[in-house]
């Protein structure tokens, strides 16, 4: 009788998985690190790991659709003569003209305006289309200072000093030559077709003491009218928030590691920065320790997708959220109806992230006039407005269920955590317990 030698099936390494192997081969073949758009794709603890408790005998809910649940928020109440009043606590994050097409920027402005919220410029300056179509426009003040000028500063509704971004805390920007059209080149005072590196540090200040003086200058130029935000990437949220307050910010924008980017090294996106969930409580703590919670508003971004995410960020102490990626998806980014074209680019709808290459079939992350013309700013703006309304309704639904007549009244006590990690990061009890890791007395 022949002995049949039993054998085990081929086994792939968990450490050297297919994706890792492919990346090693790609690096070896090209000699260039992988640059891409969008945010971290790895799974990290997120708002999904939190749940609302809803009402019970000790708390009664509000009647859905009958009892009012206020969604408004005012940003910039600390020093600005003209704070920004928003109807909803969901803003559109800064995304540059250059990274995005003109029609996409216009659509963002239109959608935000219908929904009663603000939109934000980006690295590359302010365009007339965007100013014209955005009732409330936040003007970013970035290290590159591309397109920066006092006229646009004065026609902005708020100024956002960008220190960092969640996708790349400590990193500068880049816009590769393929996307430098004549207009983009002119706005940035650079030759056409060359790669544009945006510095990672501001050219004329370093550290919080300088920043305080820089903010004084911006306020003096704009007659102390505009709210001044400081945007930081989620790295050291407690200290960054405290230092932003010290430097005189009206608002702190805190962007966690899932936050999108137009073009950054993949290694940076995936390995630098903290998850959004882990950033909110330390920032709120800093505000509370300084007696500035609600006086200096906190805007949280990085992976906000739904009204539930909005409600959770607010419950943890944020005053508002900002969205980037989700807004682009609402405009039509990565839409399955373009699958055939994504396939031609070697990708698939939902995974397309080569936003830096300027070949976006959806016409959003491109400067190619033919592709950009695919975005109908009116229709896309309408879709964004619909989406913002749905998110708001969802957040209201949750707030009412928790017994709140204002979204701003949501609180950590409304939440429990599904995992130990989320409990530790959000400092809310693990579901079914009254405990979270690090809580005193345990």
């Amino acid at each position: 009788m022949s002995y049949h030698n039993p054998h085990t099936p081929p086994r792939k390494s968990a450490t050297f998985d297919d994706y890792t192997l492919a990346e090693i081969r790609r690096a070896a073949a090209t000699g260039i690190y992988d640059i891409r758009g969008a945010g971290a794709k790895r799974k990290v603890p997120h708002f999904d790991d939190l749940l609302f408790l809803g009402a019970s005998i000790s708390r009664y809910p509000l009647e859905g659709y009958r009892e009012r649940c206020d969604t408004s928020v005012t940003l910039g109440t600390r020093f600005a003569k003209k704070p920004i009043e928003l109807k909803i606590p969901i803003t559109i994050a800064g995304m540059s003209f250059g990274a995005l097409s003109g029609p996409a920027k216009e659509a963002l402005g239109r959608g935000a305006t219908i929904a009663g919220t603000s939109t934000t410029t980006g690295d590359g300056g302010m365009t007339n289309e965007e100013r014209g179509h955005s009732e409330k426009l936040v003007y970013q003040y970035l290290p590159s200072r591309y397109g920066m000028n006092p006229t646009d500063l004065r026609r902005a509704d708020a100024i956002e000093v960008v220190v960092g971004q969640g996708a790349k805390p400590g990193g500068g920007g880049m816009l590769l030559g393929q996307k430098i059209s004549d207009r983009v080149a002119e706005m940035r005072t650079l030759p056409k077709g060359i790669d544009q590196r945006s510095a990672c540090r501001h050219p004329d200040w370093t550290g919080p003491d300088d920043l305080e003086i820089k903010i004084l200058e911006l306020r003096e130029i704009t007659n102390w009218e505009k709210p001044i935000y400081i945007k930081v990437g989620g790295a050291r949220p407690y200290y960054d928030t405290a230092l932003a307050v010290k430097a005189g910010a009206d608002c702190v924008v805190l962007d966690g590691m899932q936050g999108g980017t137009a073009a950054t090294q993949d290694v940076f996106i995936e390995n630098v920065g903290m998850p959004t969930l882990a950033c909110v409580r330390p920032a709120v703590q800093a505000l509370q320790d300084l007696g500035m919670h609600r006086e200096v508003q906190l805007i949280v971004s990085g992976g906000i997708r739904s009204g539930a995410d909005v409600a959770k960020a607010l419950a943890l102490g944020a005053d508002a959220v900002a969205i980037g990626t989700a807004a682009l998806v609402a405009l039509g980014d990565n839409d399955p109806h373009l699958e055939a074209e994504y396939q031609k680019l070697g990708t698939t709808a939902g995974a397309y992230d080569d936003w830096h290459e300027g070949r976006d079939p959806a016409g959003i992350t491109t400067q190619d006039p033919v592709l950009a013309a695919r975005v109908d700013p009116v229709a896309a703006g309408r879709r964004l407005a619909n989406y913002l309304k749905v998110m708001t309704l969802e957040a209201q639904t949750i707030a009412r269920a928790c017994g709140h007549n204002r979204l701003a009244n949501l609180e950590p006590e409304d939440l429990c955590a599904l995992t130990m990690e989320a409990a530790a990061m959000a400092k809310v009890p693990l579901a079914g317990t009254d405990w979270y890791p690090g809580k005193a007395g345990f």
Partner: protein, 227 residues
């Protein structure tokens, strides 16, 4: 001529007075006494005014100047004339770091020396320094002219784009992608004009020109050491 004594008047009042000058107003010559190192002095000017500051100023003096003629009869702190659009800013003494940073136009004249990062990220401004400049000057400079009658510190013009640099004295070292270039007649002509406007007693022929080698304009892995 309106005179503001900053020992008695708050900064806000002075800057607001500058901003309230309208097109065609008569009182356009301002004088500032006792600036005492104030920050953000005479920022955001948007009319063809003149401001004479009798003493030294702190950070960001004449920031975002658009049309003003500001003279500091003293020295200036960091970021003088940052992001200037048009106009003239003259510093009779020395200037600290980042002088003329990101400036888009106009003329910045520094009669003394300028510290590090002079003309950083400049985008069209002309800067003339009668003395020396510090390290990392004209870092990522995009456009405009930087003229130095004295010496330049280390890493001049690192990651330079299209700005043109003229130095009469010694350059301690050039930054990545910055090279010495031929002085052609058109450069001599531009330089002569700038020297004249800046009241500088020097001959264009005594200068060397530096500019971008343009090898870092599009990413190439073989240049990785230079980034």
């Amino acid at each position: 001529m309106p005179v503001f004594d900053l020992a008695k008047t708050p900064l806000r009042e002075f800057n607001a007075a500058l901003h309230s000058v309208g097109n065609g107003d008569n009182d356009t010559a301002f004088e500032v006494l006792n600036p005492r190192g104030s920050h953000a002095l005479a920022v955001g000017i948007d009319q063809p005014l003149s401001v004479d500051v009798r003493g030294s100023v702190g950070y960001y003096c004449a920031g975002m100047n658009d049309g003003g003629a500001v003279t500091v009869h003293g020295s200036a702190g960091p970021g003088v004339a940052e992001n200037m659009m048009t106009g003239t800013v003259t510093i009779e003494g020395d200037a600290s770091q980042y002088a003329g940073a990101t400036g888009r136009g106009g003329l910045l004249v520094i009669k003394g020396n300028a510290a590090s990062r002079c003309g950083i990220s400049m985008k069209g401004i002309d800067i003339v320094v009668h003395g020396n400049i510090g390290h990392m000057s004209a870092f990522m400079a995009q456009s405009g002219h930087l003229v130095v009658l004295g010496d330049a510190g280390e890493a001049l013009g690192d990651s330079l784009y299209e700005a043109k640099l003229f130095v009469r004295g010694e350059v301690k070292s050039l930054g990545a992608d910055c090279v010495e270039k031929e002085m052609r007649p058109e450069h001599i002509e531009v330089l002569a004009g700038l020297l004249e406007k800046a009241g500088a007693d020097a001959k264009p022929e005594e200068f060397k020109r530096y500019g971008s080698a343009r090898t870092l304009y599009n990413f190439n892995i073989d240049n990785a050491d230079a980034y």
